[in-house]
Symmetry: C2
Subunit: 181 residues, 2 copies
């Protein structure tokens, strides 16, 4: 998972993977079938492990604004954590462009789920009256997602947690500007 995360699909060879796992090719193929299936399993594992650390804190928020703020602030922390490659594996994946549509479909599914999660959160906030009905939910969800995706690139470039927290703070100012009537 870490190798694919860091180097991408094409640039990571089966030799690299075997060396990192301390295994020989036959064992790898007996366990995962192919390099492609291993990547899918790796990114699914990534989502299952890393997902809660980002989506978890949002669930405890008492307002949509606080949820989005936690989403971005937690991202600033997680994406720059030093015990794994920087940035989000799903956001940074380019397997489809590298000529692997099967993986691309899985990645697209995970990305769509992130967007839909944000959208549903905002829709519920409109329903409950926290947000005025005039607010453009799709725009706001896409904006938050876009900022978080940009953070992944910044993190890979070497930005610090503080750098990204500044970005999150700036984005929340955008929220306040847009939500106001």
């Amino acid at each position: 998972m870490r190798l694919f995360w860091l180097k991408g699909f094409s640039a990571t060879s089966v030799s690299d993977l075997c060396a990192a796992m301390g295994v020989t090719p036959p064992s790898l193929y007996a366990a995962f079938g192919s390099k492609e299936q291993l990547y899918v399993e790796a990114i699914r594992h990534y989502e299952a492990r890393g997902g809660p650390s980002i989506w978890g804190p949002m669930a405890e928020a008492r307002s949509a604004r606080e949820a989005i703020e936690r989403y971005l602030m937690t991202s600033a922390e997680v994406l720059t954590s030093s015990d794994h490659p920087p940035g989000c594996m799903v956001v940074l994946s380019t397997a489809r462009e590298e000529g692997c549509p099967a993986i691309g479909a899985v990645v697209a599914e995970l990305r769509a789920a992130a967007y839909e999660g944000l959208r549903a959160l905002l829709a519920a906030a409109v329903e409950s009256g926290e947000l005025p009905m005039s607010v453009n939910i799709a725009q706001l969800a896409r904006f938050a997602l876009c900022v978080q995706q940009g953070m992944s690139i910044q993190a890979r470039e070497g930005a610090s947690r503080e750098d990204l927290e500044g970005v999150a703070q700036a984005a929340m100012a955008g929220w306040d500007g847009l939500v106001r009537p």
Copy 2:
């Protein structure tokens, strides 16, 4: 350039490049030396051609706010233009992570120039009095850059120009919130 832009460094083979150029390997190597040097020449060509279309409109702006707005709105248009691959080649490049530090250095240089351009613009606005001295220039520059980088990922995922213009608009609301005392 388009092949590298779309598929990245590792996933683009010399065969692909030769086929796309209608040339055989010896000609390619006589002209460019190596795949690596060709990538560098391609991304430099990208910057020389595509750079002005983004940085050009900013120069005509009459305020820092308008300049940033043009930066983001023009990006929304250019990054989704249909006559070339979606997203920014410099932002989306992962050559360093793919194991090519020489290319990584060139990409880092181009990215740093973008950040420095934004930073200088904001510094000048503080100097001229348009922006209060209390504003965090580095934070604002990084925020604008981050949003633009996120746009590249969204564009590659299939977002439309209108989608990204919505993001740009939301980001400008963030500007207004941050610049106010």
